[in-house]
Subunit: 439 residues, 2 copies
Amino acid sequence: MKTRMIHMSPPQTLISVFILFITLGTFLLKLPSATSNGITFIDALFTATSAMTVTGLVVIDTGTAFTLFGQVIILVLIQVGGLGIMTFAVLIYMVLGKKIGIKERLLIQQALNQTSLGGVIRLVRKLFIFSITIETFAVVFLSLRWVPEMGMAKGIYASIFHSISAFNNAGFSIWSDSLSAYAVDPLVNIVITLLFIIGGIGFTVVFDLWKSKEFYHLSLHTKIMLVGTLCINVVSLFMIFILEYNNPDTIADFSTLGKLQAAYFQAVTPRTAGFNSIDISQMEESSLFYMLMLMFIGGGSTSTAGGIKLSTALIIVLASITFFRQKEHVTLYRRSFHFHLIMRALALTVGSVGVVFLGTFVLNLSEDAPFLMILFETISAFGTVGLSMGLTGQLTLIGKLTLIFIMLVGKLGPLTFAFAFARYKPDPVKYPNEDVLTG
Amino acid sequence: MKTRMIHMSPPQTLISVFILFITLGTFLLKLPSATSNGITFIDALFTATSAMTVTGLVVIDTGTAFTLFGQVIILVLIQVGGLGIMTFAVLIYMVLGKKIGIKERLLIQQALNQTSLGGVIRLVRKLFIFSITIETFAVVFLSLRWVPEMGMAKGIYASIFHSISAFNNAGFSIWSDSLSAYAVDPLVNIVITLLFIIGGIGFTVVFDLWKSKEFYHLSLHTKIMLVGTLCINVVSLFMIFILEYNNPDTIADFSTLGKLQAAYFQAVTPRTAGFNSIDISQMEESSLFYMLMLMFIGGGSTSTAGGIKLSTALIIVLASITFFRQKEHVTLYRRSFHFHLIMRALALTVGSVGVVFLGTFVLNLSEDAPFLMILFETISAFGTVGLSMGLTGQLTLIGKLTLIFIMLVGKLGPLTFAFAFARYKPDPVKYPNEDVLTG
Ligand SMILES: [K+]
Ligand SMILES: [K+]
């Protein structure tokens, strides 16, 4: 195994390790003690993939179909997948006292999306401590609500499960209606959304904030993520609030404060968290359509979130606006973007659209469901969001296999897959330029 | 008027002239002699816009609701819009014996999407002769079928109407089921598809082919368009044939040859032509989904077609593949693409996605129809295609206004609108580069 790993490129290793953990998870979930009434192989594979890719789409109900043992397996897969397999690899290396060479560091660098090699190990340690700390705090706060309600054991367990699931943007819940019972509960709303927003903005942003004292000193990436996250969340809150205001199946019966809470929750959850506090299938089509965009965009780089990432979307839009305004250099906050970065964002977006297109096409053939329901499911899987209009439970075998593939590509990113299979060849002779008519 | 036009930039003038002609068309269609039973203002506006932008979406049936006079108005708007208002402007200038200055040439250049100023007038003259010649040939061939069938006057009129409508990729038909009666008629299939393929590939390609003797000598643009058009049409034929093979409401009852003809027609028509020989609303959802992509892509630059254009789509995909393969220079046929070209293609695509997104969002609120039907209608309007799953006839006022706007933006292109409103400011001081994490 060691010898083979050395011959693999970092992207190939990442993919292999993910597949390895998913396989392991599948077999563990197939154990009789993991489920109440047994589980088919494909459902175990789907659940393991959904957990390991922190998606949260469920073919069978997490709370009733799985035993405590089964749920703990899911939780472990979530933590492993969310924190990143590589963090664990480093920890194992450290525990075993092995020397961490350049090759391993490169691998970790790839996994954590870091642009410089230095201090990667220190970073991983910080990351691990950071995650555990946040999750522990959240468990305490959530216990304040759930221990009085369900008793000590059940309350603490519910707090641990939802805390890990939320911080890792996994969206798994032990309740079949997700967090609908707490749609107007301020404590649950605040703790859960804070968890997945912090987990989903990317640890580089959090660490940068921790270090820096003024906005001016923050990195360009941090500035983009902070301002972008704030803007998109405020706009989305406004949109969902307006669109659902009179919908009797979602928020119409709540008080204004309750409406605001539920709208806020549903506005921030599509960018990967995947919990829901209102019934998704009952939302207005315009809300669902708007959420398609949010799910496709997703959270931040180096986070537990999926999607093309908010920074990618912003760069694409910024580059387009720059062209529309007939300017040459794409700039923001007194910094310019390199051509290579725009190309990367473009390639990522086009690759992602391609995966979603293919997935939707296959599901359109294999599933008997309205188009929006299918598109919603595909983008939810790609963005590792986990929201569903209700298709997951009635998927065909081909549908399940397709979504398993899409969740995996969505979590690891189209670039990882492309780089895993592409053979690097240097550019051939330089060719002369020629113009082509567009538009 | 003259004075004001001189102060307008070419994009502003283009938009103004289009709006002027649409207004004129609207009032002509409101004349009692244009319709059998009258027409509302909004329906006249919609029809005039649909004709002038060569879209072909119809709120009322062209063949029965309009008199011969009304149909001729529509036909004139199609020819004016399709050939490009600018061609006509040049002709008027020439007829009046006026000198054509740099300003006018620039305007024509903008309208015809030419990259060099020289010989624009000659080009316009050639373009006009070219169009009339092709259309005349087509009338002769179509008359061979329709004169025996309908008599001399009706047969020739039908031939003229469909010939102009097809060459300009307008998709208007005097029959309410479009060309469904001729789904397995080889003559009609061949003539009509040749018309809109030639009209839709762009005259630069046709003229380049006319001049050049070998593939090697063709411009990069021509090569891309020829190979691209061939590939996408063959793949689409294959797709529609397979997907619809067993659909009893479309092609299942035809012979294999008939199936191939109908599949071919439906494979080539979504990239802007907009005629249909089978019932769109009865097609498989997977076919319709696939056609969404074709409609969004559209035909060639400097053609009567709409959409982001095939070359734009190919550049976007090629640039992404280049990045995926970790190469630096985007190359094809021993030529490299300039960064500016890729930025242009990116901006065009993002702007187009934005328009389609907004349009779909508004229609989702204003119309009571399935999501796919709405998305199909919006992309059809944006690509000036004119295919519909049946929504056009039942649109609300807001729906009609939205689609009118989208057809106009689709025909003139998001870049024309952006450039019309953007004020050019030179780039400020050059800022240092900074990296941002993506994906
Ligand atoms: K999720
Ligand atoms: K059309």
